[in-house]
Subunit: 265 residues, 2 copies
């Protein structure tokens, strides 16, 4: 799966759905974009990629469950997985659900910003939970690799949601909070690369990301708390002019970066 | 200044000093690197660039004050300006001090990482405080532009230190605190562009940056406090599942980004 006689369709042609659409096309495979409100062709698809906001994806699966082709694989690619996998599990269905999350994105949204090259070098996370879902995941591995993904990673929905809360969601929250300072609009001429990096993802789509944060709330809260504790430790060292404590905290970052770099090798 | 018959020398050939050295050389001007512990040639320089850590720069100016050529311009380029300008003001001297800060850098240090192109498109901030210093600043404007700086900005040391606390120092603090999480080393395969951006400046040189933070402590503390308040507001909205508050905070970031983008035009 998907052989060239298997039909691929995508619901939701935003940044992610659009990029899947373009990447699949570029590989010479046929792919159909399906109108999410009038999915007449849904019954034809052997691989159906759902690229909608998470709440809408759950609603969509409930509404069109019976229109999906028996035996099809339905891959959801939104940014949270526990809530989606749980919702799919609760459906009475004759198709296979597969939770997925391409670790790629941009600070802008919409089909107009989508790109066949978006997944180049990225990870594709899959969260199969049954034997059937595992087989679907394994069978799709070459497909994802052909779209440019550097690796396909299989994990649990819970592990995915915890890691993503840290590697992606917290970044967006910090960037957003950083940006909303009274000095931001006075920063012209005083800003270099670190300002540019820290503000890049500071304006995530409010509706989508509020949904993602709420659905990942249990994983996210303790991660925010740990961050606040570290920042508060730093603030208190600065307040007390405790230079040794400050240096030691900075050194911990150096050490962590070295470990991350050596992992990459 | 500097005409081709004026001599330029640099004390401190790390990332910034080295980049000045290479950029000046590339423009076909003569420039000498001076040994900070045995500055025999210091008396020849008409423009002396001090590219040392801030505490060391102050010590150096005190120690070699009387060896500096009368009438020379001494440009300090470290990342904090109030403390440096104050220390220079207190010296009995027959040369002109000028506080400066090139808004360019890298997450690595040392001459081996320096580059003639480092200042390309960056701002050069100058903090003259007297008529004499103002004249020196104005006379150096074409020199900085010839090194690739996009603009030369004149401001007060205090304004510089406040802006830099936000646009640079806070970024390094947040990046460092972000990096020091127990999940960082488990993030392989789960990390995309936002993780990469948020961790880039997370390992600043502990000795140098502790000095910078301490010297800019008064400006930095309220900026950290405002950030913590915004983050805490977000955390509390998430805790209470107050989606409207979350969306409204995210929207504020969108608005801020739009304003920043329109400022750039």
């Amino acid at each position: 799966m998907p052989r060239s006689d298997r039909k691929i369709a995508i619901v939701g042609l935003g940044l992610i759905g659009g990029s899947f659409f373009k990447a699949i096309r570029e590989k010479g495979l046929a792919v159909t974009g399906i109108d999410k409100n009038d999915p007449v062709e849904v019954g034809d698809a052997d691989l159906l990629i759902i690229a909608l906001h998470p709440g809408l994806a759950i609603e969509w699966l409930k509404t069109y469950n019976k229109k999906i082709k028996p035996g099809a694989v339905v891959l959801d690619v939104c940014g949270v997985k526990s809530a989606l996998c749980k919702a799919a599990e609760e459906l009475e269905k004759d198709w296979t659900f597969l939770g997925g999350h391409p670790m790629a994105g941009k600070e802008v949204s919409g089909f107009e910003n989508s790109s066949a090259a978006l997944f180049e070098g990225a990870s594709m996370i899959l969260t199969p939970q049954t034997k059937e879902e595992n087989e679907a995941a394994e069978s799709l591995r070459p497909f994802f690799e052909s779209l440019g993904f550097a690796r396909v990673i299989l994990t649990t929905p819970e592990k995915h949601d915890e890691m993503i809360a840290y590697t992606s969601q917290l970044c967006h929250i910090l960037s957003n909070a950083y940006l909303r300072d009274e000095l931001a609009l006075k920063s012209k001429g005083f800003a270099g690369g670190s300002f540019r990096d820290l503000t890049r993802v500071g304006a995530p789509d409010p509706k989508l990301w509020t949904e993602l944060f709420i659905m990942d709330r249990e994983a996210l809260l303790p991660i925010i708390d740990r961050f606040m504790e570290r920042l508060s430790d730093f603030r208190s060292a600065l307040e007390k002019k405790d230079e040794e404590a400050m240096r030691s905290q900075l050194r911990e970052g150096t050490l962590m970066k070295e470990k991350l770099t050596s992992q990459k090798k």
